[in-house]
């Protein structure tokens, strides 16, 4: 019950922040240079054409009216119409978010498992050769330009070894995959399409590897640090002194206490991974949300920019909320 109250209170606190984000993006895209209309009209368009197009997207209205219309649409769940494509922004997001989620969720899952295993191992062997190796690897991973890593993996995995498909698209079109959620691996599994599943998996491996290598480094460092803290804590030392079995110590005392600190770190890392995803999608021509948002930004497609900024901010703050709740569930000392 307390958790429900906490979540409701936090969601209410989000409203002013998100409203600030909405106002700020709305104003910024209009105040700063760049014109969405000029990008859709050809070079031969007359001023009358431009005025007509402007009127069609309501850009000739006073800015306050435009903002109120936009806000009214938001309340009813209408994110507007893309100036570039002329289709509903909400529908486009629905199409693009599935592939991106698949990429991010798989990469984060791989990164979390690797970070916990290696981090705990490293802490238990602190200041020995293996630990130094792990820490150095983490530092290198932390300094890695993800877009370059993606290119290197393509160079090795596709150009030299030929093990993986070319970095264009998410699934071989010959496999006749029926799109349901947009997450191709999931769709293939749901429609029991074996060839599509294999193809989607093959296309996923390199981008997921790229993203998880970049994401694992900061997680690994944090897991190691918190595992070290637990190893030196009084309850753990007491448990060791009582002569408990190694397995009980590891599972009951070390892992649980280490994991309790993980959610807030994972949320922070999720944030950086959103930024990396834009670059990784670009390298692998993933055609997901990141590439869509980037194009909207480049063409000054106001509704697309506004919607994608709002979606990212919303995901980001909600993930932090989820992390706080998860922390409270894992760690009984946390009062929310």
């Amino acid at each position: 019950m307390r958790i429900v109250r906490f979540v409701v209170r936090r969601l209410l606190q989000l409203i002013p922040v998100l409203l600030g984000v909405v106002v700020l993006t709305f104003l910024l895209v209009r105040v700063l240079p760049g014109d969405p209309i000029r990008t859709i009209l050809g070079p031969n368009a007359t001023p009358e054409d431009a005025a007509a197009a402007r009127a069609r997207y309501g850009l000739d209205q006073p800015i306050v009216k435009q903002f109120l219309d936009y806000l009214g649409g938001l309340v009813t769940g209408d994110l507007g119409t893309s100036i570039q494509s002329g289709t509903s922004v909400g529908a486009e997001i629905g199409l693009r978010i599935g592939p991106t989620f698949e990429l991010v969720v798989l990469a984060l899952a791989v990164a979390l498992v690797v970070a916990v295993l290696l981090g705990v191992w490293s802490a238990r062997h602190a200041d020995r050769a293996g630990d130094h190796g792990v820490r150095l690897t983490a530092l290198v991973g932390n300094s890695m330009p993800e877009f370059w890593l993606g290119l290197v993996l393509i160079l090795v995995g596709y150009s030299v070894l030929g093990w993986f498909p070319a970095p264009s698209g998410r699934v071989d079109p010959d496999t006749n995959l029926t799109p349901l959620t947009g997450a191709d691996l999931l769709d293939a599994a749901l429609t029991l399409n074996g060839p599509a599943f294999g193809s989607a998996l093959a296309h996923l491996i390199l981008p997921v590897a790229t993203l998880s290598i970049v994401v694992v480094a900061p997680l690994l460092r944090s897991v190691r640090a918190s595992a070290l803290e637990v190893l030196h804590s009084e309850p753990y030392v007491a448990a060791t002194a009582h002569g408990l079995r190694g397995r009980t110590l590891l599972r009951g005392y070390l892992l649980r206490a280490t994991l309790a600190r993980l959610p807030s770190l994972a949320a922070l890392v999720f944030g950086t991974s959103i930024g990396s995803t834009v670059l990784v999608e670009y390298v692998f021509s993933w055609q997901g949300f990141g590439q869509w948002a980037l194009r909207g930004l480049l063409y000054r497609d106001y509704p697309v920019v506004q919607a994608s900024v709002l979606v990212i901010a919303f995901c980001y703050v909600v993930v932090f909320l989820i992390a706080d709740v998860a922390q409270a569930v894992l760690d009984p000392r946390v009062q929310i």
Binding site: V17, M144, P145, W148, L294, L297
Partner: protein
């Protein structure tokens, strides 16, 4: 027991020194190579070899040429000027602006604090790179703009950090003593609060400079930062990225490797400083 603690502390100190020295050495080498680039190469950074584009590494061009026929080795050296320059300048501006905001917000409190911190909240509702992407796409590129972008996306974190420190320092006895003995607000801030609130900033700034280099290179890679023909590692990787599918490694692998090493230099330095600060606290 106490003896092992002392030995441990000494070892931590030595390890921190190794990290700091290694990181600084890497950065010094890259900076010197960039400054004295003309000594190490006969080609200019944007000079085109009329005899060949995409020439593999060989005697005339130690790292080959790119799709425009420019010498990769020479561009690699010169690029350090823009990469290091923009990242360091951007973070420096962020530190100064963020510290000033955090100082004012933390010391004055009240509505000033509320307003400033809500603005910081909005900025921090975005991942750094996304924010940089949006700001860079809107203000356009150019060296000055890129420095401003790097500064704008990093300043909020410093504001928050310094504000938290200031709120602790503000409550300490020496500040109260100074206030009661009639010192002016600016005098107290400048002489007592500021110097005692900068410890975390000193540790974060080098790490931040490394991330700023990654941000800058990422922007350039997407065509929103430094653009070809200017020599910058991210832009070089971007230009070389189509070659990768054809198996040509020399246009994109070397600039990424140098970028990685340079960022690693900053990471090692920051890690060392952090270790030293923690050892001192214990």
């Amino acid at each position: 027991m106490s003896e092992t603690v002392v030995v441990g502390a000494a070892r931590v100190g030595r390890f921190a020194t190794v990290l700091i020295v290694t990181g600084s050495a890497i950065l010094a080498v890259v900076a010197l190579a960039a400054i004295f680039a003309p000594l190490f190469t006969g080609w200019g950074p944007t000079e085109i070899d009329p005899l060949g584009t995409l020439v593999p590494p060989g005697p005339g061009h130690p790292l080959g040429t790119d799709a425009n026929g420019m010498d990769v080795w020479s561009r690699l050296l010169y690029a350090g000027r823009l990469d290091l320059g923009i990242a360091v300048a951007g973070v420096a501006v962020a530190v100064v602006a963020g510290t000033a905001l955090g100082l004012v917000a933390g010391y004055l409190g009240g509505w000033v604090d509320d307003v400033l911190m809500r603005v910081v909240d909005i900025f921090q509702a975005f991942p750094t790179f996304i924010l940089a992407l949006a700001v860079a796409a809107l203000v356009g590129n150019g060296t000055g703009n890129l420095i401003a972008v790097i500064a704008a996306v990093n300043a909020p974190a410093y504001a928050r950090l310094v504000r938290a420190e200031v709120r602790t320092v503000r409550e300490s006895a020496f500040v109260a003593a100074s206030v009661t003995s009639g010192a002016s607000t600016s005098g107290v801030l400048w002489r007592h609060v500021l110097p005692n609130s900068l410890t975390p900033v000193r540790v974060i700034a080098p790490l931040n400079a490394g991330w700023a280099m990654l941000t800058l290179a990422g922007l350039s890679f997407l065509g929103l930062g430094v653009t070809v023909p200017a020599a910058e590692w991210g832009a070089m990787i971007s230009l070389g990225s189509p070659d990768v599918v054809a198996g040509r490694w020399w246009t994109s692998v070397p600039p990424g490797l140098v970028l990685l090493i340079c960022v690693l230099g900053f990471s090692l330095l920051g890690e060392g400083l952090q270790e030293r600060a923690e050892a001192k606290r214990r």
